[in-house]
């Protein structure tokens, strides 16, 4: 069999069996070996029990989606087979635990039993090493160098005598299990490069991006799937002189962030949909008092408690409009794990420049998936700091002064010239309460007109034809990757295809969207929600004709599903 550029592996079992850690360890080993990887996982919302799944794709080339057709499916138990058999590609092979799983006859020719539980008990005396037998079996089929895995196991269990040895023995035993499948998927070896690559999740990229932007205060409340930002910054912020605090709820989280920013610190919180709902009133406050804050929303399945561990893009409306009154804000949606880093820097820069709340929208898939990315060069970042009252004579100081760019110097406590009272009540240029028509109209303009430059001046994302004649894709956030991969394949087929992804969704780049679609026969708007929130926004802002593809099953788009959207139409 000739060497391939990519392989998709899916591990499935019961939560608690080590499925996720097996996936993590294989992903780490692949990254160490120089492969590009992208992962996708689902797990139950409960701590113990329930089905979980870890899929990862590896390639010698950069990859943009987690893959659809599974080449190697590893089933830890019967339910794993029952729930995942339909993900198998036409040539996909199956590894399954010999004692736990029964495979239908028609699949037996491409299925191999692995003595996961038997070998684990034999070697380690318990079922604990079951997942390492599975990892070993995978390395056998893929012909994967196991040295990095052994190193990782040694490091992980360095403090537990015997455990590392048992795990490594289980790994080797597993590798010999499906001996006749050895080399079934020969992979093109990765090109050796000196370049720095990182293996990082979206949440981690946001956290380190915040540090790069100069964050000094983080207030948060635990919520899936955003908690690792809180946890990561709890360790890291004190190392750069900042503080992370776990608050009593999301209201207190954003309230404390508002207070810290008022006092001069760059400040951030991170949450998911339910938390963003609780923060709505404070978003309006920060917009009215003109206090820069950054709010990360790692979207999960909604509405209400919804699907806490599944992915969805259904908080767009809330991010755009949540809060009473005409509450200004900037909404930015990174399109990849790498972009999570840069979008976070942008979010802080926008917040500081425009003195406004910035909502950074990711989703469970993007937030938790691991991806190999190019290491950002922090020294090349442009960092924006707010305009302050420093240097202004005290008698002349007006906190909410009307200026040409509608942004006024902000007084920072400790600065003798800038004393003022921040307030959510309508106010005049001094910040004094005032309700006249002139004041309300003037301040309304100030709050919104300052954002106008971003309608055309924000860094957006795009791929393929700048003015496609066949199909134009418009989307936001994590669908960028699968759409990009689909565009490359469709272009190879001779179609004129391109995508335009507004990273900044509020204020909306209507002119750029209208220009992008001007020659396109079809405009397709894929998004992961029920009501087509982005499609509605685009229609309202531009009036263009489009096809809304709103998919709401708790799963992300695959490149193949995007391809189907185009070819189905061709077939019809």
């Amino acid at each position: 069999m000739s060497a391939r550029h990519s392989v998709v592996i899916r591990l499935a079992g019961e939560s608690g069996e080590g499925v996720i850690s097996s996936g993590d360890i294989l992903t780490q080993a692949a990254a160490r070996g120089g492969y590009y990887t992208q992962t996708f996982r689902t797990f139950p919302a409960e701590i113990k029990g329930g089905p979980c799944m870890y899929q990862f794709r590896l390639s010698d080339e950069p990859i943009w989606s987690h893959g659809q057709d599974v080449d190697l499916l590893v089933c830890f138990n019967q339910e794993a087979w029952d729930l995942n058999w339909d993900s198998l590609g036409p040539d996909g092979v199956i590894l399954y635990d010999i004692t736990e799983v029964t495979i239908p006859d028609e699949y037996l020719p491409r299925a191999r039993p692995v003595r996961m539980e038997e070998l684990a008990k034999e070697i380690g005396g318990s079922l604990r090493a079951k997942n390492m037998v599975a990892v070993g079996a995978v390395t056998g089929v893929i012909e994967f160098d196991t040295t990095p895995i052994e190193e990782l196991v040694l490091r992980r269990y360095a403090h537990k005598e015997g455990v590392a040895d048992a795990n490594i023995a289980a790994l080797h035993a597993g590798a010999d299990e499906a001996a006749d499948l050895k080399g079934r998927y020969p992979l093109v070896a990765p090109v050796e490069t000196e370049e720095d690559r990182m293996l990082i999740s979206g949440n981690q990229a946001i956290a380190v991006g915040a540090v790069a932007a100069g964050v000094k205060y983080f207030g948060g409340y635990p919520i899936t799937p955003a908690s690792d930002i809180l946890e990561w910054l709890s360790v890291r912020l004190p190392q750069v002189g900042g503080l992370t605090i776990q608050c009593e709820d999301e209201i207190a989280s954003l309230a404390s962030v508002v207070g810290a920013s008022y006092a001069g610190a760059k400040a951030m919180t991170a949450t998911s949909g339910p938390g963003l709902s609780l923060m709505a009133e404070l978003i309006g406050y920060a917009g009215t008092a003109e206090i820069p804050v950054v709010i990360v929303d790692a979207q999960r399945g909604g509405p209400s408690t919804g699907l806490p561990t599944k992915t969805e893009q259904s908080d767009l409306n809330q991010a755009l409009y949540g809060s009473h009154g005409d509450a200004p804000r900037i909404v930015i949606a990174p399109v990849s794990v790498e972009d999570c880093f840069f979008a976070t820097v942008d979010a802080f820069n926008y917040a500081e420049q425009y003195q406004v709340p910035v909502i950074l929208l990711t989703d469970q898939g993007l937030a938790t998936r691991l991806e190999v990315i190019h290491r950002p060069d922090a020294s090349k970042l442009e960092i924006v700091n707010r305009k302050t009252s420093a240097g202004i004579a005290r008698e002349d100081y007006k906190r909410y002064e009307y200026t040409p760019d509608h942004v006024s110097p902000m007084g920072i406590p400790g600065e003798p010239t800038g004393m003022y009272v921040a307030t959510g009540i309508e106010h005049d240029e001094y910040g004094h309460p005032g309700y006249t028509p002139e004041i309300h109209l003037g301040m309304g303009h100030k709050r919104w007109d300052k954002l106008i430059p971003l309608k055309t001046g924000a860094r957006q994302a795009a791929h393929g034809e700048a003015h496609p004649t066949d199909v134009a894709f418009i989307g936001f956030g994590s669908t960028f990757g699968p759409v990009r991969e689909a565009i490359d394949r469709l272009t190879e087929q001779g179609l004129s295809v391109g995508s335009f992804y507004p990273r900044v969704l509020m204020p909306f780049p209507a002119e750029q969207v209208i220009d992008f679609v001007k020659d396109a026969k079809r405009v397709i708007v894929p998004e992961v929600n029920f009501t087509g929130q982005l499609a509605r926004l685009i229609k309202a802002e531009t009036g263009i004709e489009l096809e809304s593809v709103a998919k709401c099953d708790g799963l992300p788009f695959t490149a193949e599903a995007i391809m189907d959207l185009v070819t189905q139409e061709v077939a019809a």
């Binding site: 990182m198 503080l243 209201i251 207190a252 922090a378 406590p413």
Partner: protein, 287 residues
């Protein structure tokens, strides 16, 4: 000696309170206390919520944050943590602090946030025209309790002591000298200091005369360091003015300073390097 006078802390805005409102007395006491302490107005931040009393920051010539209904405490915490050099005073009413904002109160107390919280307690909602508040008395008639308030009032002092406030006192707007002294001690206190300032609403719940008649002073032999005694006194009811409880305990600021001192200095490049794919980035765990 202080060089600042109470008038130095007045802003150009005149209070919008009704004639006779207790909040005038509280504001006057606060001005005097800030002058006595010689606070630098540019290093002082007064944080409030929403309600009649929460307009207070607008009447002081310091930095101020007039926040949302119920949210002065977490905002004040953020201000203090971001810049521990500042003197931070949170103010508000009983509805702001003990109805909509009650969820924040015990946490500010247990964290020992290094701020002063001054509640102007009039046992009524004034700004919305006289509805019952969480400190309104049982059977009190109000527009929202036409058959008499069916609920028992909350006891803010007992709540403060039980939740871990390290300075708990009661003052009264009509006794400005004593209230000034309490505010001064509260601001000087390291940690979360809570003052319940009885501040009658002359428009919707005029308790001024009855309160004046009922106030007493905390007995001279009361041991302010004894939490059980303090709790007992708080539960007894009545209106004993003075300090009920005082405790020396590490403030939130000091605890976070210790965390900062222990942290190993790092920078963004080191953090990026910790994710290096070739060196086996440790997934999920910050190194």
């Amino acid at each position: 000696m202080s060089t600042r006078k109470p008038n130095d802390f007045k802003s150009e805005l005149k209070p919008i309170w009704c004639p006779g409102c207790g909040d005038f007395g509280v504001l006057a006491s606060l001005y005097r206390s800030m002058a006595d302490l010689d606070l630098d107005p540019s290093q002082t931040v007064i944080v409030s919520g929403i309600g009649c009393s929460s307009r207070l920051p607008h009447f002081a010539s310091t930095y101020g944050v007039h926040t949302l209904h119920g949210r002065p405490l977490p905002v004040a915490m953020g201000v203090k943590l971001a810049n521990p050099e500042l003197t931070v005073i949170a103010v508000g009413g009983d509805g702001d602090g003990f109805a909509i904002g009650a969820g924040h109160f015990p946490h500010a107390a247990r964290r020992n946030v290094d701020i002063t919280y001054l509640v102007m307690d009039n046992e009524i909602y004034g700004l919305t025209k006289g509805q019952a508040s969480p400190t309104s008395l049982y059977e009190q008639k109000a527009p929202s309790t036409p058959f008499g308030n069916p609920e028992d009032p909350l006891n803010p002092l007992a709540l403060a002591i039980s939740a871990g406030a390290s300075f708990v006192a009661r003052g009264a707007s009509f006794n400005t000298k004593a209230l000034t002294e309490l505010i001064t001690q509260a601001i000087e206190h390291k940690g979360f200091s809570y003052i319940d300032a009885m501040s009658p609403c002359t428009t919707f719940n005029n308790t001024q005369e009855s309160w004046k008649e009922s106030v007493t002073e905390v007995a001279p032999d009361h041991d302010v360091t004894d939490r059980v005694q303090a709790f007992d006194l708080a539960l007894k009811g009545g209106f004993a003015l003075g300090i009920l409880y005082r405790q020396e305990r590490l403030s939130q600021t000091e605890r976070y300073r210790a965390i900062l001192e222990k942290a190993k200095a790092s920078d963004v490049d080191t953090m990026l390097d910790s994710f290096n794919a070739r060196k086996g980035a440790a997934i999920g765990k910050p190194a």
